[in-house]
Symmetry: C2
Subunit: 199 residues, 2 copies
């Protein structure tokens, strides 16, 4: 129905997550209407990101150059590693301003059903980092989902085996701030009970 270049753009936009055919069409028409400058700025930004951004050789966070900005920062505590699933998980942790250590990005979570086994994630690299010494604590911050939990258990076991003196912790699980008991699901409420702290 559209000219081939328009169809191609719609197809490419529709491959983005959460962007259906309709939205892709709307975005394509926006880009068609947009100034040459605005549209090409997006195209250039995509190219630039693919050309310049890679993974940190230490922690597998996003990095321009061999190491990410956190691994390069001498002010960050070097004896704590926070383990997250994806590079995008680093941001919310940073935003808390509660954490001043380093990271290790796994690149996903264990999920045998989807064919994600330990060797598909950067788990061995984490264990090597921890076993090399100088690490006091590993904070596991995988998602509180089935796959995230499985990954956390696997990593906790691995760290205990390779570096028995290192403390392994997990993020607390419980009621989110502002939640209402009445609407809390049983899983979350159960966790909140098990993890109750002295008032």
């Amino acid at each position: 129905m559209f000219a081939p270049p328009v169809n191609r753009l719609i197809t490419e936009l529709a491959r983005l997550p959460g962007i259906g055919q309709r939205t892709a069409q709307r975005l394509a028409f926006h880009l068609l209407r947009a100034s040459e400058e605005e549209a090409l700025a997006l195209a250039e930004a995509i190219k630039e990101v693919k050309e310049t951004v890679g993974l940190c050789e230490i922690c597998f966070n996003l990095a321009v150059g061999p190491q990410c900005r956190i691994c390069e920062d001498p002010r960050r505590e070097s004896d704590v590693i926070c383990v997250v699933e994806e590079p995008s998980d680093v941001i919310p942790v940073e935003r808390t301003n509660e954490y001043h250590g380093r990271y290790h990005v796994l690149g996903g979570a264990l999920s045998p059903i989807d064919g994600v086994d330990p060797e598909d994630l950067h788990i061995e690299e984490l264990l090597t980092r921890v076993a090399a010494g100088g690490i006091g604590e590993v904070v596991i911050a995988t998602n509180p989902t089935t796959t995230g939990e499985a990954t956390a258990l696997f990593i906790a076991d691995g760290v205990r085996e390779r570096a028995p003196t290192v403390t392994v912790t997990r993020l607390a699980s419980g009621l989110p701030v502002g939640a209402d008991l009445e609407y809390a699901d049983e899983m979350t409420l159960g966790r909140a009970f098990r993890g109750r702290t002295s008032a």
Copy 2:
């Protein structure tokens, strides 16, 4: 918080309509994770569309080359012109398979508040087309909104003045198929009454 190229990509993505900061971040991380090939295919599609797609010199629909595929198609009836606001409005009309004539894309709707005056739209070009002869009917298919209605009235007047023998029609307004009277708004229901047809 992110590396500069990542920030730039997020900023550019967030300029798209309906894409907020959060979604832009999610899309950026998707593109970072995506294969080089997939991400660059999107960048290329944007560039290609801006380089190759322009507006039809006759009807201002999108066109690769000087004229759009509809104006170039000798099988389309050349004595009827359907007037729409945007190139994206051509698609739903085409999908009905009810219309076999040509189009005229205004490039928007009159909206003095937003500074859109008749000379900002392709209205003069439409009137010139109609006045040149060979046109039996102009079907105005602007949106049933305040600005679309105002535009329709303005165009109807213009056509009547410049080509008094040409029939000017508007799309019927009324209850959408599958609608429920109970939930219809008064405007729509009022239109449905005024436009009632013999059963």
